[in-house]
Amino acid sequence: MAKNDDCVHILQGLLVFGNVVIGMCGIALTAECIYVVSNPHDLYPLLKATENSDIYASAWIGIFVGLALFALSILGIIGVIKASRTLLLVYIILMLITSAFEMASCITAATHQDSLTPELFLKQMLERYQKSEPANNSDNEVTKTWDELMLQNHCCGVLGPSDWQKYKSAFRRTHSDADYPWPRMCCVLDAQGLPINLDGCKLGVPGYYNSNGCYDAISGPVNTHAWGVAWFGFAILCWTFCVLLGTMFYWSRIEY
């Protein structure tokens, strides 16, 4: 019947369109994950020191998943147009496997982002910043990263300069509390890198020291990467779910 053929054509058209979108999203996912992997932001030493670089594992998986999605979308388009049961069965099974990998990547990225709490960075900063006998190079990296961070974002500590007062730290072991209530980087510095008013900084006079914490400056870039991988992957998976359901329905209507 004519109506049946029209339905079939519409279904085919939708499936082809769905696969085209999947193909494009696959390319976009690959591009985004290559960017995340090859362009670690300045805070990468802090992340590396937390020994939790799941975000990069997620990004690597994302690269391969993106390429697989692109290849499979082409297979899907061919299968839909030819109405071949074997091709579509292969397509569906491979898509499910790829989706499983993408699911793992999304969930890992989301979980990793949750683990980056202020307490994690606070503990790391207190234990490693200006450690007098650095155990390995990563301690020097942590110190350099924190100095850069505090200089550029005009902030101090994770939650504020009081972090250095409330807790003992590696910094406190080598710098007396009376001379250095907080590191010199927390002071407002002039063009030469010297505090504009050292006494004002030590007293904590507003305007001569940075009184806000750096956590916002840290969580911004880190979250962007995690959300990029996790939520974009989630969106792709939702769309893929719809296309796969449609393909299964189409497959069941094909004659052998």
Binding site: D5, I107, T111, Y167, V205, W231, R253
Partner: protein
């Protein structure tokens, strides 16, 4: 007479009475000013682990232009004065005071106003044991002009000199405080070596005590709503797809087993449903 018939076994009720008489006997003026920590402007370093910041005593020692104004810093053993005697207590509660091997009496009862600054009895380097109170931050009225110009920050940072902390030749060093306290301070004006005026003792000042970073718990922050949403939704979707795949395979195997229900494959773009009721319609439906 204060010594006759003591009514309490604790002799300290008589000491304050006795000591009240002493300043009157020596003619020291008791100024009604209490040294306070700086509240205006709010300072981030008002209290650190070894320093604290006081307001300068502006417009307090107006009549003592010739006197040296010293700051007396004493370690306060409020534990003794907290036995319900009504001694003033600041924000420190007795259980916050670290135990001292030799219980210390309250600051106001041990400090002798005739003590000379720079002597062994008031040397910073011997504080807190055996010296219970040291004198530092020497100034004159010239350093504390009255009235205070608006917008100026007039403070005294107790504990800022680290260079002379171990130097026995500088007994009036304003060195970093050796522990969390509690400390009480007062200003004392001396003309020559004669005390002429003093302020009241401040409230007990407790400094911050640093905790070890091991007390920071980095685990168990819980999972955010986003992560739970992603996991749940994706798991459900994946389960539906797997169910669909299983249904497909079952359908396929049942399809291929009962061979009579399949037609031969027509031209590739048409899909027809096999339905015996419409067999006679087939030629008409073929377009």
């Amino acid at each position: 007479k204060p010594h006759s018939r003591p009514r309490h076994t604790d002799t300290r009720t008589m000491l304050p009475l006795l000591l009240l008489l002493l300043p009157a006997a020596h003619g020291i003026a008791r100024l009604r000013y209490t040294p306070v920590l700086t509240e205006e402007p709010p300072l981030g370093g008002q209290k650190t682990a070894s320093t604290f910041v006081l307001d300068q005593p502006r417009c307090v020692f107006k009549d003592y232009g010739n006197a040296d104004i010293w700051l007396v810093v004493a370690l306060d053993g409020s534990r003794w004065s907290s036995a319900g005697q009504g001694a003033s207590r600041g924000p420190c509660t007795p259980h916050q005071i670290p135990p001292h091997p030799h219980p210390l009496p309250a600051a106001e009862s041990t400090f002798d106003n005739t003590a000379r600054p720079g002597s062994n009895e008031t040397a910073f380097q011997s504080f807190p044991d055996p010296v219970h109170a040291y004198m530092t931050l020497n100034a004159t009225l010239v350093n504390y002009p009255c009235p205070k110009p608006a917008g100026d920050i007039t403070v005294l940072r107790v504990g800022s000199e680290t260079s002379c902390a171990e130097d026995e030749t500088r007994p009036t060093c304003n060195g970093p405080l050796p522990g969390p306290g509690p400390y009480r301070v007062k200003f004392l004006a001396l003309e020559g070596s004669v005390p002429v005026a003093e302020t009241l003792w401040s409230m007990p000042i407790m400094l911050t005590e640093a905790k070890s970073p091991n007390t920071i718990s980095t685990t168990g922050s819980g999972h955010s709503a986003g992560m739970i949403a992603i996991t749940t939704i994706l798991s459900i979707l994946f389960a539906i797809l797997l169910a669909g795949l299983v249904a497909m395979l079952v359908f396929w195997s049942s399809d291929s087993c009962s061979g009579s229900s399949t037609f031969s494959k027509p031209e590739s773009v048409t899909v027809r449903r096999y339905n015996t009721h419409h067999v006679y319609d087939q030629p008409a439906s073929r377009l």
